[in-house]
């Protein structure tokens, strides 16, 4: 499955044609491949305000072999990192403008802008809160101005969460975040294990992926396996043939299970205990749509979507939490939500309700997970090019795919990369969050 328009617009003839017609020319995104350096070029690092994370950022860049440029260097940067922690009022934001304007002008295609700030809610004064909140407007707007597949994102780092910064910073700089744009991600203090293997960060871990037979679920299984995990691929028995192919492709195992069956939690827990002695990563990806306008929707459509998309996630997670020792220390649960759950979507009251419910679920569960040194998060995909979107009418599909800052639909692998990253040890400081993988969609922004 690929975005044919992006491919066409970047071909010889296509490039000429779309330019003459004034059509958007979406960039080819920089996506992660094993062995790829963190950045394809040097980075500019600057501060606005106190800049208490400057040394942390500097170390992340240098550890990854990235040359750190001064703001006035001639070389074109592949990334600009602004440490705006400690801004006390709007006046200090001038420094942000002074750093970003010249550096972003010289930013290479598929570049990255990452801004680090403090959480506005924890500000001591209204002026401080205003300055902190202002960063959000700056980053969201800059993300819309960037071209060439470049992205801008904001990390909110409270006092004491310095150790949690490296993982998210690396994610936003790397090709793993290709379709994550214009987002604000809060981190929290956590024990982050040191010295994780960046090539195979999930080595030795067992990961369950529901809905793994095709589409985004199959992509998640592939990326988790690439990152070193043993994947237990779960899907309904009727999808078993495709499921077996995915399991064999990724060197994992296939578990045919209807997650809405009353005994599904017991069977999943038993399987993980007997076959693997426990589980490290659980990805709740299985989901269905049964679209109808609310007034025309029968109970069966409503109930089926709720059962698969929400109730099963609650029941399976509860059973894993309750089963002694099955959910291993440092476990990661990642739920697939949806843009529809944030913005709503005509004809999807049931689906959007279930996906919004998922967001409520991960937020509510975050403290219990944190107490175990574990995390629970959601990923909300935007317009992702799958078999499902391929069946949409051409005009609806093409318009839907362009309504974002990157002017293209995302790929299943983009969602998978975000999920696999949240499963990494280095993402320990991200808990109870909803990470959108939507290219900064105009919907629900």
């Amino acid at each position: 499955m690929s975005d044919w328009y992006t491919t066409f617009a970047n071909s010889g003839v296509g490039s000429t044609l779309v330019t003459q017609l004034g059509l958007p020319r979406p960039a080819v995104l920089r996506r992660y491949e094993p062995g790829q350096p963190l950045l394809p070029g040097p980075a500019v690092l600057g501060t606005a305000g106190e800049g208490r994370l400057r040394d942390t950022v500097d170390a992340v860049l240098r550890d990854a072999g990235v040359t750190v440029l001064t703001a006035d260097a001639d070389e074109r940067p592949a990334a600009v990192v602004l440490d705006a922690t400690g801004v006390t009022g709007p006046a200090q934001l001038a420094a942000a403008h002074d750093l970003l304007a010249p550096a972003v002008k010289r930013l290479r295609p598929t570049g990255r802008v990452v801004v680090l700030g403090d959480p506005p809610a924890e500000a001591g004064t209204p002026a401080q809160a205003a300055a902190r909140q202002a960063l959000e407007g700056l980053v969201r707007s800059l993300a819309k101005e960037l071209r060439g597949g470049s992205t801008a994102n904001l990390l909110l780092v409270p006092e004491g969460a310095e150790a949690s910064v490296a993982g998210p910073l690396r994610f936003f700089l790397s090709g793993r975040s290709a379709y994550v744009d214009g987002q604000v991600l809060p981190v929290s203090p956590a024990d982050v294990p040191a010295g994780a293997d960046d090539e195979r960060p999930l080595a030795g871990r067992v990961a369950v992926v529901t809905g793994a037979a095709r589409g985004i679920g199959a992509a998640i299984a592939r990326v988790l396996s690439r990152d070193g995990a043993h994947v237990v691929a779960v899907d309904v028995p009727a999808a078993g043939e495709a499921l077996a192919e995915v399991a064999n492709e990724v060197g994992g195992t296939a578990l045919q299970l209807d997650i809405t069956a009353p005994d599904a939690p017991r069977r999943l827990v038993g399987h993980l205990r007997e076959r693997h002695g426990g589980v490290d990563v659980v990805v709740h990806n299985a989901g269905i749509t049964r679209d109808k306008l609310l007034v025309n929707m029968d109970a069966a459509r409503w109930n089926a979507v709720m059962a698969v998309n929400l109730q099963a996630q609650l029941d399976l997670t509860r059973a894993l939490l309750d089963a002694d020792g099955v959910l291993r220390p440092g476990a990661r649960v990642v739920s697939v939500s949806s843009q529809s759950g944030i913005a709503g979507n005509r004809g999807q009251t049931n689906y959007a309700a279930s996906k919004a419910g998922v967001i409520g679920m991960v937020r509510a569960w975050a403290p219990e997970f944190a107490a175990r040194g574990a995390t629970v998060n959601a990923v909300a995909p935007g317009f992702i090019v799958t078999e499902m979107t391929a069946r949409m009418p051409l005009s609806t599909r093409e318009v839907g795919a362009r309504l974002n800052s990157l002017q293209q639909g995302g790929l299943p692998v983009d969602v998978a990369e975000a999920i696999a990253w949240l499963a990494q040890p280095g993402a320990a400081g991200v808990n109870g969050q909803v990470l959108r993988v939507c290219g900064q969609s105009l919907l629900g922004a």
Binding site: A247, G251, T253, D258
Partner: protein, 429 residues
Amino acid sequence: MSSSQPRRAAVLGGNRIPFARSNSAYAQASNQDMLTATLDGLVARFGLQGERVGEVVAGAVLKHSRDFNLTRESVLGSRLSAATPAYDVQQACGTGLEAAVLVANKIALGQIESGIAGGVDTTSDAPLAVGDDLRRALLELAGARSVGARLRAIARIRPGSLVPEAPRNAEPRTGLAMGEHQAITTREWGISREDQDELAVRSHRNLAAAYDRGFLDDLVTPYLGLTRDQNLRPDTTVEKLATLEPVFGTDDPAATMTAGNSTPLTDGASAVLLSSDEWAAEHGLPVLAHLVDAQTAAVDHVHGGEGLLMAPAYAVPVLLARNGLTLQDLDFYEIHEAFAATVLATLKAWESPAFCEEKLGLDAPLGAIDRDRLNVNGSSLAAGHPFAATGGRIVASLAKQLHEAGPGTRGLVSICAAGGQGVVALLES
């Protein structure tokens, strides 16, 4: 018996594709296609990608000449290590169970640590052979050295030689179809139409219930769009079956065997994973049951006055005696439903003092069994019976049933086969 008991082979699980009715969902699938897909499903279930299994043993009853080395070729097409050895076996409908016994025996002897036993059959993609006249003419043509000899060979070919020979579901020595043989036995034992239809209905209901409670979730992998056995009729009733016309033994006005209480021609494949306990532990795979012992028997259906499908009735008492068990010591019975009447005649024979004394040489009859422990998850009448695939279906399903019932539970597998043969085995969790 020596003082050191050989170790017992563990049954870890199985996989099969849903069984399809002849000339339907799998009409275009070959034996090799189905066996390869079945092995790949097993590999996916147990994480055996690239694994060098000790040996893969499987077979087919109906084979093309291209099915030479069928099992090894299927292994090479699968995700197992290409360094996994394989060989073919064939014992008619006993093939699948015999394959499991062979693998279990090698494991028991310590010659291999793990193995896969399987079977496959297609009645849709069945081999057609050229007639003997044409075959001889073609062979002569191939060997001819002069133009004259070639012309003579070609001249032997007549239009009638071009009619292909299809495989027949008939006994070579009697010319009778298997159903006709069973019809004789059915009449001899006085098996009623009602009892046969009731057994068939129970088979369908039990299999449907097994699907509904998810029992088959880790035993079956869908194939070519089929997710359940195509022959399964969950809503069939004794009343519906009573309307069918008899198809076997119809020279008798009181014929009882119909398409509803006889197994239809079916396509499919199955495989079972066996190993030593140590191998299972190393691979983190729970043991469902052990294959404790097995026995074969054969009867002389040509001149000996015994029914073609009655050999298991002879094999089971030998197996029980060797293991110090009575028929009633078993918790579950899996008696292959070639025909409903086959199962009923076998049970009746074990209850008959005359049969048990005269034919089996026993002092007392084996006695009756609790019918609620018979084919509890359905059998061939509902699932269908791709000849060589039935043994694997039953072994995996029974092993899981015994595991669910708890440690120390015992189960019997009994399979009748063409040529007057029978293969039976004892499993224990």
